[in-house]
Homo-oligomer: 255 residues x 2
């Protein structure tokens, strides 16, 4: 059975793309079949796998408008991991989608025919709670929330949780929270430790045991167009995403 | 004469709010009269000045719908600096604005009556190029682009510059780029140094001389609801924003 996992948080720069790219590759390394959907007009997950958007003719934009999934799925250089790339056209899509029937379900419908071919469908979201992210939340079985260990990021969490409740009530009753992932954690920094404690106090077991440390190799790997597993497997960043993949697989096998 | 400066970049987490809050306070310290407009539904600039959104009855949302500016301007604890706060209602505003006449000029019209009362109007933008940011770019005399010294942030810059060209052609012919501000710079990190060099090679004098270093005090000050000037004036973060204020004032006086 397959699991659709959306990676979302309206706060910018918290590690959504870094998590989507590297969790994807780590699940692939654990022999899971993965497809990564890049729902962000910025297209960072697409370039994180070394793919040049300008050279593409199809993208997730076409999938939203009813194109057959087979036309938009790309193989990546990483075994077991496929990609449905982003496109510049996504930037204007939200305004176009406002008028459409079923505007929140376009992605869900697009993925219906392919989910069985994969163990995991990961969806990278833009930093907003607009129609692109709502499509990802409506399509998902579960939500992974990267939480940067900073004040503004913690402040935004309650707004995200309220939106998730609304999505559950109106669009996707089965949506669960897979977990909250602490990212860019630096144990020497009091603020980071305080935010981590606060998150665990509020959300308890929802917070993954795996914590992603601040690790410069995670920032370097996208400039080489590859996930960290292939750029520097010995780094703390790579190890933490391998741990996260194990934890996510355990969650799925338990439920 | 007053200057309307928008602080924008669709890449998330690059230091837009940190720059809006701290440049504002630093311009205030230089005896300039400042109003900060929080156009981000997240409302981080509002809480960066210690203001609790939940307690407010008016916000920039009302200004966009034609409310008198006098009703929405708040005094902050910082002398010389006023605020037009954000509101949760902004999150749904983009969908509401799509249908409106003049949808890109609502903010410009709202600010027309108050700009003469200030030396600087700073506008903090959300991490997207949707209608809220387009309103800010249409209202602005100039744009300040915070650039985090990371790969994904640099990758997104060309898309932002293309959008600025479109805004200049269709909405605001007088829009200039005030400058590109390197943020979260860590000299020990090769990637940061490479990104800084690349930005200077591409954009030359458009890159401010002032560089904002990565400085944990900048992350701590929002949790105390105050700009860094009032939290820790001796910190490198505070000094860099005082330098930036001087540089921005010089640019204005020269042109
Ligand atoms: N654990 C980490 N250690 C160091 N750098 C990191 C880490 N995680 C992410 N980064 C870097 O921080 C920046 C922000 O991360 P990323 O782009 O993944 O966040 P995002 O939430 O996807 O941003 P956006 O909101 O713009 O989509 C990137 O430059 C990335 O390379
Ligand atoms: N120079 C710096 N040194 C250390 N931390 C910083 C620095 N500048 C900003 N930060 C912290 O990094 C995080 C991102 O900064 P900020 O929220 O200002 O970016 P933003 O571009 O406004 O994000 P968003 O895209 O969500 O609006 C915040 O937690 C902030 O406190
Ligand atoms: Mg991203
Ligand atoms: Mg911000």
């Amino acid at each position: 059975d397959s699991m659709i996992l959306s990676i979302a948080n309206q706060k910018g720069g918290v590690g959504k793309t870094t998590t989507a790219v590297n969790l994807g590759a780590s699940l692939g390394a654990a022999e899971k079949r993965v497809v990564l959907v890049d729902m962000d007009p910025q297209g960072n997950a697409t370039s994180g796998y070394g793919i040049d958007r300008a050279s593409l003719t199809h993208s997730v934009y076409d999938l939203l408008l009813g194109e057959a999934p087979g036309k938009v799925i790309l193989k990546t250089a990483v075994p077991q991991v496929d990609l449905i790339p982003s496109a510049m056209a996504l930037a204007g899509a939200e305004i176009e989608m406002v008028e459409m029937e079923n505007r929140e379900f376009l992605l869900r419908e697009g993925l219906a025919g392919i989910r069985e071919a994969y163990d995991f469908v990961l969806i990278d979201c833009p930093p907003s709670l607009g129609l692109l992210t709502l499509n990802a939340l409506s399509a998902a079985d579960a939500l992974l929330v990267p939480l940067q260990c900073e004040y503004y990021a913690l402040e935004g969490l309650s707004h995200l949780m309220k939106t998730v409740d609304l999505v559950r009530q109106r669009l996707n009753p089965g949506l669960i929270i897979s977990g909250i992932l602490l990212t860019m954690f630096d144990g020497r920094n009091n603020l980071a430790t305080q935010v981590a404690e606060e998150a665990r106090r509020h959300f308890g077991d929802l917070v993954y045991e795996t914590v992603v440390p601040r690790n410069v190799r995670l920032g370097e790997s996208p400039s080489h167009g590859m996930p960290i597993l292939f750029y520097d497997i010995r780094s703390k960043g790579a190890q933490s995403y391998l741990d996260l993949a194990k934890e996510v697989i355990q969650h799925v096998e338990k439920s």
